[in-house]
């Protein structure tokens, strides 16, 4: 039984407007989604080697949300995440080698083996951190937006979280405050319909999440999270709102989680969801759909895609080699940075 069906409109509504995007930009969106996918597929392949000793949370099937949102941001803008970090981190420009070293618990990981996959960081890229506690980053991102206001800076703050975060009180506390103070923050709910194995219908009444957010006084929209252009356009106008002092935006992006909550592989056969539902969503692959849309328009072709695949493969393999050959931390490292001087 398919409980959560695709409800988007595909790429057709973007046909008339396609001319306003330049080809390079469109291909960069495709490249970024492919890169996130391929990094994770390689993680998945290697996870069974049991060397990457960290709880991974794959974002396969949901890449368009990270990529579309982060494409609307500049380097100075700040991004926070929940536990499902990989897509957000890479799309914002987080360093791939430092991420892989972190997953392999190495001394040169982005936070030197103190964070693992649920807590990545790349301050230079404007990826300001993440929390392994559901909705934990929400008030922190809201505080960062308050800081931008108080410091008279024009950067925007964006925070990613899952649908279950909207069951946490601290999310609504954050939304209330952001709306009250008209803070330059963008809340991105990556609704993949499941919290671990618990379906949305077991957790929330049938009220659309974005409508609840709207009731808190935020500008709130629901987007097709498999359509990178729709996500991008929505995020772009949210960033404009933030920069021009018009206050916060809530974006609910619908895209299915192809894999289990954590670890490698799809766990649908355990019975909490119908494998047919996964297959249903695979027809709306954010990468394939976008590739076909661009190919039909002659903006990319098969050799072009193969060249991207080859380039990414090369980069990913190098990043894994880098991580595996990197030094591990020493005992004395444990005692560092409990307190700041």
């Amino acid at each position: 039984m398919i409980r959560y069906a695709y409800s988007g409109k595909g790429f057709e509504p973007f046909e008339p407007a396609i001319g306003k995007y330049d080809r390079e930009f469109l291909v960069s969106l495709l490249w970024s989604m492919m890169r996130i996918r391929m990094v994770q597929e390689e993680m998945e392949r290697r996870y069974r080697e049991d060397e990457m000793k960290t709880p991974i949370h794959l974002v396969i099937g949901q890449e368009a949300t990270s990529v579309g949102c982060c494409a609307a941001l500049e380097r100075k803008d700040q991004v926070f995440s929940g536990h499902r970090t990989n897509g957000n981190y890479l799309a914002k420009g987080g360093d791939l080698k430092a991420m892989m070293s972190e997953l392999y618990c190495r001394a040169n990981g982005c936070v030197a083996s103190r964070g693992g996959s649920m807590h990545l960081l790349d301050k230079e890229a404007g990826y300001a951190g993440s929390s392994g506690i559901v909705a934990g980053s929400l008030p922190i991102a809201t505080g960062a937006a308050l800081a931008a206001r108080m410091l008279k800076q024009d950067w925007a703050t964006m925070v990613f979280f899952g649908d279950a975060a909207t069951e946490e009180g601290t999310l609504w506390e954050s939304l209330n405050y952001a709306a009250l103070r008209e803070l330059p923050v963008i809340y991105v709910c990556e609704n993949n319909f499941f919290s671990v194995c618990s379906p949305l219908e077991a957790r929330q009444p049938k009220v659309e999440i974005y409508e609840k957010a709207a009731s808190f006084g935020l500008h709130s929209v629901q987007v097709d999270g498999t359509n990178v252009l729709e996500v991008y356009e929505t995020a772009r106008s949210a960033v404009e709102r933030a920069r021009s002092g018009k206050g916060p935006t809530f974006i609910e992006s619908l895209a299915y989680r192809w894999r289990g909550h954590g670890g490698a592989g799809d766990d649908s056969d355990t019975g909490y969801r119908d494998p047919a539902e996964v297959e249903h969503w695979k027809q709306y692959c954010p990468i394939e759909g976008f590739y076909n849309f661009l190919a039909k328009r002659g903006q990319i072709d098969e050799p072009g895609r193969n060249a991207l695949v080859k380039q990414i493969q090369n980069e990913v393999l190098k990043a894994f080699e880098h991580a595996i050959s990197s030094p591990v931390p020493e005992e004395s490292d444990l005692f560092k940075h409990v307190y700041s001087d």
Binding site: C110, A112, G143, A144, A147, E173, S174, Y177, V338, D341
Partner: protein
Amino acid sequence: MPWAQALIAKKTDSLSHQDPNTGRVLSYAQAINEALVLAMELDPKVFVLGQGVDDPKGMFGATLGLAEKFGGERVFDTPLSEDGMTGICAGAAMMGLRPVYFHNRPDFLLLAFNQLVNHASKVHFMDNGKTNVPMVVWAAIGRGWGSGAQHSQAVHGLLLGVPGLKIVLPSSPYDAKGLMLSAIADNNPVLIFEHRWCMRRKSAVPEGFYTVPLGKGVYRRRGTDLTIVGVSHTLELALEAVDELARDGISADAIDLRTIKPLDEEIIFESLKKTGKILILDSTWAMGGLCAEIGCRVAEKGFRDLKAPVRRIGLPDIPTPAGFTLEQYYYPDKKRIASAIGEIAAA
């Protein structure tokens, strides 16, 4: 860095101003207020928030006049979203600001443990030292007049075991000002727990900028028969008891720790080596908090100096009753502390 300059310029022995009878006398609230004004004048990144900080009562008077002086962008009221607002402070601090977040009671901080314990205290470590969280959270421990189980709790014992936090319990206006300035200057999350009954005190408070260092206790009395170590209001009661016992020829070292995390172990063991006996006091439950921690450290590191069993006086393992009719049996009073001191001295 305004703080580095200010701290270097005032690197004097701030422990020497202990006489409440000399110099300019201020109330507790005035002393805190003065610290906030100085901090906000020194550093435009300091801001003050909390439910009622700009209302006519001004947080027991501690924040009176700040909104008028510094404006609503730097001194502002908040929704009652303790966890959310704590995270908002942490996020602002991570971006370089220095929030000072006021609460009427520590009980309300229990709503903010997710941000305090899971986030603010750990970000510096998890970010491998790349991010600081310089924030101050302030609350006043209540007692009496029906405060009861949900308006009189002191929660510092629950937080003592959380790495990354600093915890301060001033007991005089002098310390309240100096510790507040140290706390705001500190690059870590610092919790300040005042006690409503200590807040009735007045004492000499120097004008201008000075700090009382975090992690340094101070002798309030010097003596030979035993070591009394503690914080806040219960220590104040012990000082009254010790003064009365002088007529019986009993004298004690009485140490006001002022900060319980980091804990000034040095001063405790310095005194214990001399007296060989120790009474540990706290204004919260004796179980599992400061009393238990010091007792354990004394057993671990000071066992050979002990001439009598370790004693502790805190609250019993019972919620605070609301009515004065029951409350009189709940809190330790001067008499009970005095009799414990007498027993330990005679042991």
